[in-house]
């Protein structure tokens, strides 16, 4: 393999890791499924890379009732996808993580790495946007926290500064009656970067949908939260016409590009379809839940 020669730094605490980062601007390694590819393609030629693997606290995937979910920096997609509590409380996230790459990629790749890589098509990103996730960042002066819309700046760009490490992602406890869903359109059944993706979260209160959050992937320079479309759906009893209207609104707000995977026009059309389907899926899940009760 060309150019794959670098020094591997392996701190065993976050503070030690921050010290390394203060001394030199080296890339951080989690699962490596994005980073190593960049090195292999010759896009970056780091002298050293900083692996987080010896820091035990970063493997933590925890849930606390009333508070929510915390996803440590080394939690892989497979762990999230298979976690019973994530499946129950944050289904959109479990679904998104289950659709990343292939089993090999899900075994290595982390959710934090997925966000930090800042691809507009990152599967977990739109799900986490719709779930209102926060990014917990550590630097030498302490901890700072930001919401995802503030985190993503552009393709491959985030508001993480040199010398900072993402410690975890937190997802707030969903209010009672919340359902969520993630849908992805690609050409293959696996190992596929989305042509378009959508995530929707809302809760049903007396037949109406509240706290609606909608996000799209692969239709803008960053994963995109769509508060305008969400507010159109807020507080209503959804009909399929309404969901179609929401789809059109989301499509109009998206800013897709023509690329090899699809044209902008097709992406917009698909945004419309996926938004509607997300809505229908929530209605169906609510109906299912009622039938169970």
């Amino acid at each position: 393999m060309t150019g794959m020669r670098f020094k591997l730094l392996e701190p065993s605490t976050i503070d030690e890791a921050l010290d390394f980062l203060a001394a030199a601007d080296v890339p951080i390694l989690a699962g490596g499924t994005d980073l190593l590819l960049k090195i292999k393609r010759g896009l970056i030629w780091p002298e050293a890379i900083l692996s987080l693997h010896r820091i035990p606290s970063l493997y933590c995937l925890s849930y606390e009732e009333g508070t929510g979910l915390s996803i440590g920096a080394l939690v892989t997609h497979v762990r999230v996808a298979q976690s019973p509590i994530v499946k129950e409380k944050f289904p959109a996230l479990a679904q998104a993580c289950a659709l990343v790459g292939s089993p090999q990629i899900r075994n290595l790749g982390t959710v934090v790495g997925n966000l930090a890589n800042a691809s507009p098509a990152a599967d977990s990103a739109s799900a986490l946007l719709a779930l209102g996730a926060q990014v917990i960042v550590r630097n030498s002066s302490g901890v700072r926290q930001m919401s995802l819309p503030d985190f993503f700046l552009g393709p491959g760009k985030t508001s993480i500064r040199h010398g900072e490490i993402i410690e975890a992602i937190t997802v707030p406890e969903p209010l009672a009656g919340t359902a969520s869903v993630y849908l992805k359109l690609g050409r293959r059944q696996a190992l596929e970067i989305s042509i378009c993706a959508a995530a929707l979260s809302a809760r049903r209160v007396q037949g109406h949908w509240q706290d609606v959050k909608l996000a799209l992937g692969a239709v803008a320079p960053t994963p995109l939260l769509l508060p305008e479309t969400a507010s159109y759906l807020e507080g209503k009893e959804w009909t399929s016409e309404m969901l179609e209207q929401a789809g059109r609104s989301a499509a109009a707000l998206s800013r897709p590009l023509d690329d090899q995977r699809a044209s902008a026009e097709y992406r917009r059309e698909m945004a419309e379809v996926l938004v509607k389907r997300c809505g229908l899926a929530l209605i169906e899940s609510a109906a299912g839940r009622n039938a169970h009760e």
């Binding site: 696996a190 097709y266 389907r277």
Partner: protein, 761 residues
């Protein structure tokens, strides 16, 4: 039969899957120089100046070669029998570069890192020309890709270089225009098939060194060792007698390795330095600097009467051969060669051109033109059936060539075998045609539909592919089978051994098979054109029969009876009466010990004037999402007539692999370039081959026939299996949503846009 027809495991299977050191790079000496190639960033340019001085000064750099350092004989990388039909249009390095990735300089260094460092130090100045990128605009383009005086061909292939035409083709039987004028129904359509990458697991690699006599030895991952020897001799301007080419285990070819890769570069370094050298193409180079399937535009005109009798079939082909004419004329010819004979129309015609463009060259790829032609012709047949209001299977049953009929390719030889009609009937039954054709709604937004296609290929190249086999009885009673056929994962070492074991009534273990080494192996063009089972197989059978007779005669002599009164029974020759016997071991020993002896060697050289076609009927069931246009393959049934099935499990994996490649062509794969001619799909991240989940259920069945001219009745299977998926899946998608995608691959976007257009009508 004890061996033929049995699912015997591949004799090299365990070594391959347990990672034994059997491939080129495992064998290469560790001190071999590492060879890297500086490649052109421009699609069409002239090198104004090239400065290698800085790079040469780097520690560990052994040599840097440019166009100033190479022999001036043009050659072709296409591995074909002499006289090669591909034009001699390339030099090892030249001051003109004709596609992004064309070679500019050869760098040899002690290790890869140094070679890459040196590459960065080479300074090149280019004069950039306007490239020819759109193959439909190549003829008459202001840029001429190959104006050079000394470009030559071995015989007339219809080259008109000033017009960017590499090859022209025309073949006609009957009066096409006259027949078309009388047809009740005519289908006239244009189809596009894309460039496809082979995506074999092992990329190109060659290790070269000088042996104890100063001869050049090339250990190469190739399908065509003898052709590589001839190619190296011409390109390097040294006698072929000074070259030895050895083929070790190969990690896949699919036709890719019927074209030379890095052999000439490593060989030149070894000749210049006297040192061992190796070149390994990385995945990106393999994607973007070798060959792909020729992209084509095929116009079809097909006419029939009201009853569905096809009367005329015409193909007009335009083939994109890229920057060099590897396999240009032959792939073009095969578009018609393997489609026109299939339907017994009174009049049939193909005309076409292959054109130069400034893109990666086209090359040999499983199916070799037949795949492209089958997509066009079968799509047209499906459309014809619809126009006539007839079942597409019925239209085929009505028109296909049958055993005993005359094939247009061989007017003097009636077709020896075909069960294609049974293949169609069986396939219909297995896919559930009666209940499921054409379409059913399975969910509010989902429909499932069926489609079908049939195809034929050849078994070797008639009058050209000739294979020799030798089998010797060794001193210890074992046999050595010498062949030049090239197992590239296909399993031909195994099935050829099966055939020999069957004839000699021995065991698989008693036969040592050796292939291929140009110093040792008898001549064989190599494994391509679906030739090995049929052509090399027949040579092996005849050589084994020859040896068997000799063993019998020798044994009878020792038993002092006439050969008619003796028989070979496994490891002994005995009298028919059963009163005397002599073991094979004793015969072997007596044949090589003492004076006046002769070691027994069976021998045969075999070639045929016909190329019997294998057939496949393919049936696809797809599910299409009505809102996204995404088509998923739910079920695929392939019913195959490859004559006698020599090894069912190997024939099955050949079929499954071919179908998978066909599915890739139908739905996913597409070699794409940007506006400057740079390949966009140069990794497996961008170039999508179907993954396991996309293949769905592929079900393979055999309807054996008996080919009278084949070994044990066998025909070929390697290529024919790749041809049906694209037209069958396109047909199913049409039946699902009414959109005919005539330009491959069938992406969700094309289907969706097609549905939008229908909705607007």
């Amino acid at each position: 039969m004890k061996f033929v027809g049995q699912s015997i495991s591949k004799i090299d299977g365990m070594a391959l899957v347990t990672g034994k050191p059997v491939y080129t790079d495992d064998i290469a000496l560790k001190n071999a120089l590492v060879v890297k190639l500086l490649r052109s960033p421009y699609a069409f340019a002239k090198i104004k100046s090239i400065d290698t001085s800085k790079a040469e000064q780097l520690d560990g750099v052994e040599c840097i070669l440019t166009y100033k350092d190479v022999p001036q004989a043009r050659f072709t990388l296409a591995g074909q029998s002499y006289p090669e039909p591909s034009p001699y249009d390339r030099l090892i390095l030249e001051d003109i570069v004709r596609y992004v990735g064309d070679e500019v300089a050869i760098i040899a260094a002690v290790d890869e890192k140094t070679a890459l460092k040196a590459m960065k130090l080479i300074k090149v100045e280019y004069e950039v020309f306007e490239p020819v990128l759109d193959f439909e605009k190549a003829i008459g383009h202001t840029s001429v890709v190959h104006p050079e005086e000394n470009l030559s061909t071995n015989f007339e292939i219809g080259l008109q270089k000033e017009k960017n035409i590499v090859a022209s083709h025309r073949f006609e039987v009957g009066d096409v225009d006259g027949e078309l004028a009388q047809c009740d129904v005519i289908v006239e359509e244009t189809y596009y098939t894309q460039a496809q990458a082979h995506a074999m697991m092992e990329t190109y690699r060659t290790f070269t060194y000088l042996d104890h006599m100063g001869r050049l030895v090339a250990i190469s991952s190739t399908q065509v060792p003898f052709h590589i020897r001839r190619q190296l001799a011409r390109a390097l301007q040294i006698p072929a007698s000074k070259i030895r080419v050895i083929k070790p285990r190969i990690g896949g070819g699919f036709g890719a390795k019927q074209t030379g890769g890095g052999d000439v570069f490593a060989a030149l370094v070894t000749l210049k330095t006297g040192k061992p050298a190796k070149i390994i193409y990385d995945r990106q180079e393999t994607f973007s600097c070798t060959t792909s399937r020729h992209a084509m535009r095929i116009k079809v005109k097909m006419g029939a009467d009201k009853e569905g009798l096809i009367k005329a079939l015409e193909l007009q082909v335009l083939s994109d051969t890229g920057a060099y004419g590897e396999h240009a004329s032959t792939v073009l010819g095969c578009v018609g060669e393997y489609t026109l004979p299939l339907y017994k129309a009174k009049a049939r015609r193909i005309t076409g051109h292959a054109v130069y463009t400034n893109k990666m060259p086209g090359g040999a790829f499983r199916g070799y033109g037949a795949t492209q032609g089958t997509f066009a012709v079968e799509s047209a047949v499906n459309k014809l059936a619809e126009k006539l209001g007839l079942d597409p299977a019925a239209v085929r049953l009505r028109n296909i060539v049958k055993a005993g009929d005359t094939l247009i390719n061989y007017p003097n030889h009636p077709l020896g075998s075909s069960t294609l009609d049974q293949c169609i009937l069986k396939g219909q039954e297995l896919i559930g045609w009666k209940d499921k054709y054409p379409v059913r709604q399975v969910a509010p937004n989902k429909v499932r539909a069926l489609g079908m296609a049939v195809t034929m290929q050849g078994s070797g190249i008639a009058n050209i592919d000739t294979s020799t086999a030798e089998i010797r009885l060794n001193d210890d009673g074992n046999f050595t089978l010498l062949i030049g056929a090239t197992d590239m994962g296909t399993g031909c070492d195994t099935i050829l051994t099966q055939m020999a074991a069957e004839v000699l009534e021995t065991s698989m273990e008693q036969i040592i098979v050796n292939a291929a080494d140009t110093d040792i192996s008898p001549y064989d063009p190599g494994s391509y054109a679906s030739s090995t089972t049929y052509v090399a197989g027949m040579a092996v059978v005849k050589a084994a029969e020859d040896l068997k007779q000799q063993i019998l005669a020798q044994g009878a002599r020792y038993l002092e009876v006439s050969a008619q009164d003796a028989e070979l029974d496994g490891n002994v020759v005995k009298t028919l009466k059963g009163d005397k016997e002599i073991s094979l071991y004793q015969i072997a020993e007596l044949s090589v010990l003492g004076t006046g002896r002769q070691q027994l060697v069976g021998h045969s050289t075999y070639g045929n004037e016909i190329s019997p076609p294998p057939f496949v009927a393919g049936f696809a069931e797809v599910e299409v999402d009505l809102e996204t246009g995404k088509a998923e393959l739910v079920d695929y049934v392939a019913v195959v007539d490859c004559g006698t099935v020599i090894n069912p499990s190997l024939a099955r994996v050949q079929t499954e692999g071919g179908i998978a490649q066909g599915i890739g062509m139908a739905l996913y794969e597409d070699v794409r370039y940007d506006q400057k001619g740079r390949m966009q799909t140069n990794s497996f991240m961008q170039y999508k081959i179907p993954c396991r989940k996309d293949i769905g259920t592929v079900r393979v069945f055999f309807e054996s026939s008996f080919e009278p001219t084949g070994p044990f009745g066998a025909k070929s299977i390697g290529e024919v299996v790749a041809n049906t998926p694209a037209p069958a899946i396109a047909h199913a998608v049409y039946n699902a949503v009414g959109v005919r995608v005539q330009s491959l691959p069938i992406t969700p976007e094309k289907v969706f846009m097609g549905m939008q257009e229908l909705a607007r009508l």
